[in-house]
């Protein structure tokens, strides 16, 4: 391996690593705030990439059916609860968010898709279609289980993963697709050639991470989410409801998942079930960060990207094995460092 190849591999690794970092952040965020190990994170990657691909081909995105269906289910859950507590004034808001919004988005997508309005609009539309699935999912599956143990939540998360993969096959079919590159530009920096695509991916990831950091440091809702992660009872006592923080983090996670899919779409062919494997790599990084540390998770994600890229050059058949084996020393180190597991509240 000469220097040029090494630089190319590192560039590839950093590019995919940046995407894993976004996923790792989403997984850490969801876990710290809700204690849910968010296995279905990967499905949002597939949904994001495949939706953008359909929009680029000018066909109506299949995700709209899932969106309308999930919204409808969430509406039923909400309505039953509202009527049970005689909160009739909440009905218009419930119908607006859970039925009106998805139907409006669906019409918008079906109307705009054949017009091929360009990459920018298509990306925004894809994200608008994928992101609301997060809060709906939280409402349907996790909100009723909010006080359950981590294990119960994990089992539910596994079930959601299996179900969403099935929906992916049903709505998008078994065919994979690759989206168009954001940029064909090439830059020569010394011996290395850096693609515009790589720069776009890394820049978007970086801006998003910075944005998230600012949200958590500066805004009230960001601070409320941090507070929930630090002390759930304390958060409830100041009026931060479990469902509000749950839905907010699921929205962020779905958005980050969908965006990761859009970023990775031009780099690899994405199938309905591809997201899971990609999500798992974000998961490895999140685990290295102990599911609580954002900076460690982000750095670990970049290193995993580089490790994956180098191992695909040296031993491509063992690429995944090498990446997932990397987690073992960290697990041993973490279990040696940590004391006996404490029960949660």
């Amino acid at each position: 391996m000469d220097g040029t190849i090494a630089l190319m591999l590192v560039q590839d690794g950093v590019t995919t690593g940046a995407i894993y970092a976004l996923l790792a952040l989403a997984i850490v965020l969801v876990f710290t705030v809700t204690r849910i190990i968010f296995v279905p994170q990967g499905e949002f990657i597939s949904f994001g990439a495949l939706t953008l691909s359909q929009l680029q081909q000018g066909t109506a995105p299949s995700i709209v059916w899932l969106l309308v269906g999930f919204g409808g289910l969430a509406a039923i859950f909400e309505l039953v609860e509202a009527l049970r507590h005689r909160r009739f004034s909440a009905v218009p808001r419930i119908l607006g968010w859970n039925v009106g919004l998805p139907v409006l988005l669906a019409f918008l997508a079906i109307w705009l898709a054949p017009l091929k309005l360009g990459l920018g609009v298509e990306i925004v539309l894809s994200l608008a279609l994928v992101a609301p699935l997060g809060p709906y999912l939280y409402r349907i599956v996790f909100q009723p289980l909010a006080e359950s143990s981590v294990l119960v939540l994990l089992i539910a998360a596994m079930a959601v993963h299996v179900a969403l993969t099935g929906f992916g096959l049903l709505f998008f079919g078994a065919e994979g697709s690759r989206t168009e590159a954001f940029s064909d530009a090439m830059f020569n920096v010394g011996p290395a050639m850096i693609t515009g695509q790589s720069i776009a991916v890394v820049a978007v990831s970086f801006v998003l991470m910075l944005g998230l950091y600012l949200i958590f440091e500066r805004t009230m809702i960001g601070k409320a989410l941090r507070a929930t992660a630090v002390n759930r009872l304390g958060a409830r006592l100041v009026g931060i409801s479990t469902s509000l923080s749950g839905r907010t983090v699921f929205l962020i996670a779905a958005l980050l998942g969908g965006l990761s899919g859009i970023l990775i779409g031009p780099l690899t062919t994405v199938y309905y079930d591809t997201g899971f494997l990609i999500g798992l790599k974000g998961f490895v990084a999140a685990i290295i960060g102990g599911l609580i540390s954002y900076p460690i998770a982000a750095v670990a994600a970049i290193l995993i990207g580089i490790l994956e890229s180098i191992s695909s050059f040296w031993a491509s058949a063992f690429k995944e094995v090498i990446v997932f084996t990397a987690i073992i020393p960290f697990l041993i180190w973490r279990s040696l460092r940590a004391g006996p597991a404490e029960d949660e509240e």
Binding site: K223, R226, V230, L233, G234, R236, L237, V238
Partner: protein, 244 residues
């Protein structure tokens, strides 16, 4: 007749098969301090948690004239209830100021009003002002209690519920905390005070309830209970018991 702020009717709470609170009824009139005293494990904290909606139980809870028995915690916070729990439950990795600001999370007021409230808290608890940028986890026990009280006051509650505010604190700080509790009453806040330190609680309270194994066994004006033989014998120490 004074207005009743909080009215608990036949509250019962069970953890599995163990009944922690059994048919407890309690009233707090506006602008008064009501204390619940009793031994460890008598069900005092559970009663507070049930009033706040942190634990679910049976019975009816009326707050400020409205039934809130089925309302979630955040609705009760917005209605004007605030609880300082026994373990304080602070956001330890966040600054003192962030902890306080989050106390007003549900307050529907302007940014300027929030800043005013913050200033008033710093005025009341001088130490918090000095440590506003410090992480809550690095505070001493007394400062933590003050921060927990400050956070609960940021919503400007009608009713402040305090669970063992003196627990684990040095006598001088306890004195300080009780002085502040009395000050708060003079501003119109009603206070429900759960204490093991029965003497200190009875000295500041207007009305008192004694709980034993989940039930109220005695109630009356605090000024009377402080001389009640059973209370003196069980909670204030034998040396002061009036000979029969």
């Amino acid at each position: 007749m004074t207005r009743t702020v909080l009215s608990l009717r036949d509250i019962s709470v069970s953890y599995g098969k163990a009944e922690a609170v059994r048919n407890v009824s309690l009233d707090i009139s506006a602008g008064s301090i009501v204390t619940v005293i009793g031994a460890n494990g008598a069900g005092k904290s559970t009663l507070l948690n049930a009033a706040m909606g942190v634990v679910r139980g049976e019975g009816r809870i009326q707050f400020d004239g409205a039934d809130c028995s089925d309302e979630p915690v955040e609705t009760r916070v917005m209605a004007g209830m605030s609880l300082v729990p026994e373990r304080r439950e602070l956001f330890s990795t966040m600054s003192v100021e962030d902890n306080l600001t989050l106390g007003a999370f549900r307050a529907k007021v302007t940014r300027g009003e929030k800043a005013d409230r913050l200033a008033r808290i710093y005025d009341r608890f001088k130490r918090l002002g000095e440590r506003r940028h410090q992480l809550a986890g690095t505070l001493s026990g007394g400062e933590r209690q003050m921060l927990a009280m400050g956070r609960a006051l940021m919503i400007e509650p009608k009713l402040l519920m305090l669970d063992e505010p003196s627990l684990g604190l040095a006598p001088l700080i306890v004195k300080d905390i009780f002085r502040i509790i009395v000050e708060l009453r003079s501003t119109g806040v009603s206070i429900l005070l759960v204490e093991q330190n029965a003497r200190a609680a009875l000295e500041v309270a207007d009305y008192a309830y004694v709980m034993e194994t989940g039930s109220v066994t005695l109630e009356g004006r605090a000024a009377d209970l402080i001389h009640d033989r059973r209370v003196v014998a069980s909670y204030l120490g034998l040396r002061e018991a009036v000979p029969a």
